[in-house]
């Protein structure tokens, strides 16, 4: 019996040993290249290769690898069949053989065998890159932090910023660009707009946006703030490419000469109340009308009958909360100087009730001194009203002692 048990035990052990020694074989694998130090190059090395090639375009035939992070992709449509990549040594524009498949933040290895290192109008490019064949993603969402550049003027053809992801602070679009849009989506027209340092008057830099970008028709922000962009170059022009409009973070008041978006009521539609303007008869029934033939204007008169009454002409609610230099101006004309027309501003009017329910502060514009000559009011500074729900209003008072007629035009609210 004991012998038998031994046999059982031995058999099991023998069988198990036989099996387990044959166990855990390595999976077969096709030969795969192992990168050694010399097989990996940097973006700086890559650029140097073309320099070493007497600045002649160079198709890479060696089995080299380059590791980098994608800093800009095609998702917003500002790029098409291209991308930007960056590593510790620099950045370069990558031209793809087909669109798609590469996303911002992708950490990639580029197999360089096949692509061409080239230059287009001073812009270094890695051309003919096939996302399927040449690019091997190592990880995703490895976004690079943009490099903070001190000023617009620090970006020059020689500053080494080409193709890099940068961040500028305290910048704004130059006044002449405003109002405007990044590009024209309807006609798919690419546009350049100048961006300046608020603090300096040095030459501004171009912000270039494709008409295919999904934010082409977005308005250019009027304020001042920070921007994240890729630095591109066209000959001697440095250009910024916006990845996404949400990286243009202009929230501070502009500096320098005030520019704002103006909304002007010029009465050419022969309509007193268009554009949100309203009239309120506090007393009497003197009403605003339009007048003129070629250049229409708004007019109010108590007529030769010298009617008595108080009539207000009130703007739509104005949101000045993001305005850098809120103001109001207009021009006026009258027969002879009088005080029947007054200008007020309120921040607590409700837009529908009688104006007497709100608090109004009088403003003192330059008014026509008579002879029907038009007088510019001058800019009424409303910077004390940087908030929403602001109203400006003309108050006309008709008295039985005088026949006063006032004409107003080009009522311009500037945010």
């Amino acid at each position: 019996m004991v012998r038998t048990n031994k046999i059982i035990g031995l058999t099991i052990i023998l069988a198990s040993t036989l099996f387990f020694t044959s166990c855990e074989k390595e999976f077969d694998a096709p030969p795969i290249k192992e990168n050694t130090i010399g097989d990996i190059i940097t973006i700086a090395d890559l650029k140097a290769k073309r320099v070493a090639n007497n600045n002649v375009d160079l198709k890479i035939t060696e089995d080299l690898s380059l590791y980098a992070v994608v800093t800009m992709d095609e998702l917003t449509g500002n790029l098409f069949k291209e991308s930007y990549i960056q590593d510790a040594t620099g950045a370069i524009n990558v031209r793809l053989t087909s669109a798609g498949g590469l996303y911002q933040g992708d950490s990639i290895r580029i197999s360089l065998k096949g692509p061409v290192i080239t230059e287009f109008s001073q812009m270094m490019q890695l051309d003919s890159v096939d996302v399927d064949d040449n690019i091997f993603k190592q990880a995703t969402q490895k976004d690079r932090t943009p490099e903070l550049v001190s000023s617009v003027s620090a970006i020059t053809p020689f500053s080494g910023h080409q193709s890099k992801l940068i961040r500028l602070e305290n910048v704004q679009f130059v006044a002449a660009e405003l109002p405007g849009t990044y590009a024209v989506g309807a006609t798919q027209t690419t546009e350049n707009h100048f961006l300046e340092d608020a603090a300096s008057t040095a030459s501004p830099i171009i912000v270039r946006t494709s008409g295919f970008a999904n934010f082409a028709d977005d308005s250019l922000p009027t304020l001042n703030g920070s921007i994240i962009a890729i630095v591109s170059q066209f000959n001697n022009d440095m250009q910024l490419l916006i990845r996404n409009p949400n990286e243009v973070n202009f929230v501070n008041p502009r500096t320098g000469p005030c520019v704002g978006i103006a909304t002007t009521k010029d009465f050419t539609d022969a309509n007193v109340t268009s554009g949100g303007w309203t009239t309120q008869n506090v007393s009497g029934s003197i009403n605003w009308a339009t007048g003129g033939t070629s250049n229409l204007y708004g007019v109010i008169t108590n007529t030769s009958s010298q009617l008595v009454g108080e009539t207000w002409y009130i703007s739509p609610a104005i949101d000045f909360s993001t305005s850098s230099c809120p103001s109001f101006d207009f021009r006026s004309a009258t027969f002879a100087g009088n005080t029947a027309l007054e200008l007020y501003v309120s921040s607590n009017y409700d837009g529908v009730s009688l104006p007497t329910t709100a608090t109004w502060v009088q403003l003192f514009p330059t008014l026509s001194s008579g002879g029907w000559s038009w007088a510019n009011s001058g800019s009424m500074d409303l910077s004390a009203y940087q908030q929403a729900g602001v109203y400006v209003a003309f108050k006309y008072t008709g008295s039985s002692s005088a026949w006063n007629t006032w004409e107003v035009d080009d009522l311009k609210i500037t945010k």
Binding site: A15, S22, F27, D28, S65, L75, R109, F136
Partner: protein, 844 residues
């Protein structure tokens, strides 16, 4: 003895147990066909999947085995797709009355052809592994011989009803056997019906009938004649397997995309409809006291069919087509459509997650089309609604007849000589038949892919002899060819027995000839599609031998070995038999070498077996057709020199702890791997252009997928002397791998990669599925009334814990995109949750 018990119990704790089948009629009657039908199968191509789902599960063959290990494995491992020693079922020989029933085209026996005849098929003699047999040389996996002689069926009548919730829900069966009557006749008949309106998996259904008749006439003391006829017409709506994404989206691991609603009713697009009657005439001749001769003629014929959707100039109607799934849009910028598609899937909107039959009818109802030059007659135009979508039935109708003889002769008291000869003449007709035009008026018999690729209109014709043929329901179309296989086989065996040693040696010689006959002249291949192909001839041999050394009568050592060459199966030999007669280049016979060593203990109360085995199968051919993204073509992928290795151990034990309590254990583990670097040729399907040649697949040591390579079971049962029993088995499975796509393991795919790239692992690594377990319960009771009536009740419940997360296997799709390996994710199948089979029978 007690020490031995203790040791054995210890072994069980390490390993696993079984059901003693001392009285097979009283114990659980696990319906093998049922297992076969329900169990999902996984192979790397749809064609194979088609075949394998109807092929026999090894468990069916093993459940009647007397061997402790195979018995437990048969009952408990089948649902997890376990295959004994990892072997494909082509390595098992299934016979009835000595006639081999394995299909000559693919080598597998298709259990479904005698499904529902459990009262008959239980009378089988099964052995696993290399064995002596007086009736066949057999394969390395073993053999099973169903004894269908009328006198073999137990005399009496048995009526049973079974309720289940697997592929069918109801089964009735009636069997009657007269035994040998005074007039020298014996008659056994059996009939059954199986039915479900909807099976366990949504959209599946089952309607099957089975009939069997066996007559035997004893002519005189030396001669008996037997006639057997049976068949099992079965119609079955099938289930799909799909990607994990679809299971996650629908929240259903049994998501079946084969069905959809038509007028509010579920309709399955994949319906199998088989009926292959078998007829055999046997002559039993006792030449003298020492010599017996059994000779038979047989004829097998009938239809095999499986429907599927086809479409022309229309969008892919399959809900799980990759472009219809959210993952196709899972890229930045496509968030909106991704969310929309995801929501549609998650809401389980049947027009999204299932086939949309109404939409297909609608599309067909308004596709007015004028087919010009019908049948090639200029000016013969036909205008009507041309079908965009149809249901076609792919048919394989067979006609198989042959002669079989086996002789046994007692050389001495302890030495037996046996031998046999077989002639098998097999022909299958392979074609498509139009099943349903879905409301349209006609279908035109052209190949839409060829139509797209070639300007010459004749190229797209399925049959140049009948150009622009109009197809109506019932017409053959698409392809039509015959496979002819003539096999001549002889074997001889000598076995001897002595006090200490039993032994056997056997030799087999086989001649195989096969050829294709094309019945259509395909427009793509007008010169090699019609008529007879060259005949492929193979001459093969096998030798086997075995030795049992009896240490004592209770302790045995057994060693077996075999070397067999096997002709390649015609199924893999033709590269694309539907269109042409091209043969795989350098077609070779497979070489099989196998050996095992066992230690067997047989006490009345303790039975154990421990076996170590080693099998190598060399020079297999593997061919599939699929769309190759890198080559932008539908291609034929032919891999030769595929070697496989099967090394492992098995252990089984059955211990009667008391006379009423029996403990069982089984444990098997192995390394079932590819053992070579096969060579690949890639051929453009519609031009035979050799796109790639002599490409190496780095496949060595990749696991053979879709099966657990390690399985263990422990069980306990109580058998009351009062004729009832109850038992349970706990089963554990591990080392389950997805079947690997060979083309992903080539140098070309990783050409631009370096070792540190994460893509290397994503492309090359083989996916291992999670370990999992099941608990099965069974119970039964029998009553004897008036000494002549028996009522028996038994039930078994599989997967009692309702584990619905058990991934039993799957395969990597052959279509792949190396740059985005998740684009075509693997297809995965889950084991069914809790299922039961309960039967009550009445016999007298």
């Amino acid at each position: 003895m007690r020490i031995l018990n203790i040791i054995s119990v210890a072994l069980i704790l390490m390993a696993v147990p079984a059901i003693a089948q001392t009285d097979s009629s009283a114990t659980i009657n696990n319906d093998s066909t049922l297992n076969t039908k329900v169990v999902p199968t996984f192979t790397t191509s749809l064609d194979l999947l088609e075949e394998e789902t109807e092929s026999q599960d090894v468990s069916g063959l093993l459940q009647s085995s007397k061997d402790v290990f195979t018995n437990i494995a048969g009952f408990n491992f089948g649902a997890a797709r376990y295959r004994v020693r990892g072997y494909d079922s082509e390595n098992y020989t299934v016979m009835m009355n000595g006639i081999t029933l394995n299909n000559p085209e693919g080598g597998r026996a298709i259990w479904a052809f005698w499904g529902g005849l459990n009262d008959i098929t239980r009378y089988q003699n099964s052995k696993s592994g290399i064995n002596a047999s007086s009736q066949t040389f057999g394969g390395i996996g073993g053999f099973s011989n169903i004894n269908a002689r009328a006198t073999a069926v137990r005399k009496g009548t048995k009526i049973s009803y079974a309720a289940a919730n697997r592929s069918y829900k109801h089964r009735v069966m009636v069997t009657h056997s007269t035994g040998m009557m005074e007039n020298g006749f014996a008659v056994a008949i059996s009939a059954s019906g199986r039915y479900s309106g909807e099976g366990y998996v949504e959209g599946t259904f089952y309607r099957g009938a089975s009939y069997f008749i066996s007559l035997e006439k004893k002519l005189n003391d030396r001669h008996s004649l037997g006639l057997v006829g049976f068949g099992a017409p079965t119609v079955q709506g099938r289930r799909s397997i799909s990607t994990q994404e679809t299971y996650d989206l629908t929240g259903d691991n049994y998501y079946n995309n084969y069905w959809g609603f038509q007028n509010g009713e579920k309709r399955n697009s994949r319906v199998r409809n088989n009926h292959k009657p078998h007829l055999m005439l046997n002559h039993y001749f006792d030449i003298n006291k020492k010599t017996k001769l059994t000779s038979s003629v047989y004829y097998i014929f009938g239809r095999g069919g499986s429907t599927r959707l086809n479409w022309h100039d229309a969008k892919d109607p399959r809900p799980d087509y990759y472009k219809n799934l959210p993952s196709f849009y899972n890229d930045p910028g496509n968030e909106a459509i991704f969310d929309q598609t995801t929501t549609a899937w998650q809401s389980n909107d049947p027009t999204v997650t299932q086939l949309d039959w109404d939409q297909m009818y609608f599309a067909n109802s308004k596709n007015l089309f004028t087919q010009t030059n019908v049948d090639g007659v200029i000016g013969n135009d036909l205008t009507g609604n041309r079908a965009k979508y149809v249901v076609e039935e792919q048919r394989q109708d067979i006609s198989h007849y042959g002669f079989n003889a086996s002789l046994t002769h007692k050389l001495k008291e302890n030495m037996m000589l046996s031998g046999g000869a077989t002639i098998s003449i097999y022909k299958s007709e392979n074609f498509k038949e139009m099943n349903d035009l879905l409301g349209a008026d006609f279908w035109v018999d052209v190949d839409q892919f060829a139509e797209r690729d070639f300007a010459d209109e004749s190229v797209a014709q399925s049959d140049v002899n009948n150009p622009n043929r109009i197809i109506k329901v019932g017409d053959r179309f698409g392809y039509d060819y015959d496979i002819n296989i003539n096999t001549y086989r002889g074997f001889g065996q000598v076995e001897g027995t002595s006090k200490k040693i039993d032994w056997f040696v056997g030799l087999s010689l086989t001649s195989t000839n096969f050829w294709r006959t094309g019945n259509m002249k395909n427009g793509l291949f007008p010169d090699n599609s019609e008529g007879d192909s060259e005949t492929q001839s193979f001459f093969n041999y096998g030798i086997k031998g075995g030795l049992v050394y009896k240490i004592t009568g209770r302790h045995l050592l057994r060693v077996n070995s075999a070397y067999i060459t096997r002709a390649p199966f015609s199924r893999t030999a033709f590269i694309s038999p539907r269109t042409r007669d091209q043969i795989v280049p350098n077609l070779e016979s497979e070489k099989i070498m196998s050996g095992d060593f066992s230690y067997i203990v047989r006490y009345p109360k303790v039975k154990t077996r421990a076996t170590a085995f080693y099998t190598s199968i060399k020079d297999k051919t593997w061919s599939r057709s699929f769309y190759h993204d890198d080559l932008n073509s539908f291609i034929n992928y032919v891999m030769t020199g595929v070697d496989q290795l099967f090394v492992g151990v098995e252990f089984g034990a059955e211990i009667n702890i008391t006379s009423e309590i029996i403990a069982t254990a089984a444990f098997a583990t192995g390394e079932f791997v590819y053992d070579s670097r096969p060579t690949v040729s890639i051929i453009q399907d519609n031009s035979t252009e050799l796109l790639e040649n002599n490409k190496t697949v780095y496949f060595k040591n990749y696991k053979i997928g879709g099966i657990p390579q390690t399985a263990a079971s422990i069980g306990l049962q109580y058998r009351s002397p009062k004729y009832w029993f109850v038992g349970a088995n706990f089963n554990y499975f591990t080392d389950i791998y997805l079947d690997a796509n060979p083309d992903r393991r080539t140098a070309e795919v990783v050409a631009n990669l370096v070792t540190t790239d994460p893509q290397v692992g994503q492309i090359l690594d083989q996916t291992k599925l999670d370990d999992d377990y099941t608990l099965n319960l069974f119970a039964g009771k029998s009553w004897r009334i008036k000494n002549k009536y028996y009522i028996r009740f038994n039930i078994n419940v599989n997967n009692v814990l309702d584990n619905t997360d058990f991934k039993t296997g799957g395969f990597e799709q052959l279509r792949y995109d190396a740059a985005d390996i998740d684009k075509f994710p693997p297809k995965i199948g889950y084991m069914l949750g809790r299922t039961y089979f309960a039967m009550v029978s009445f016999s007298f």
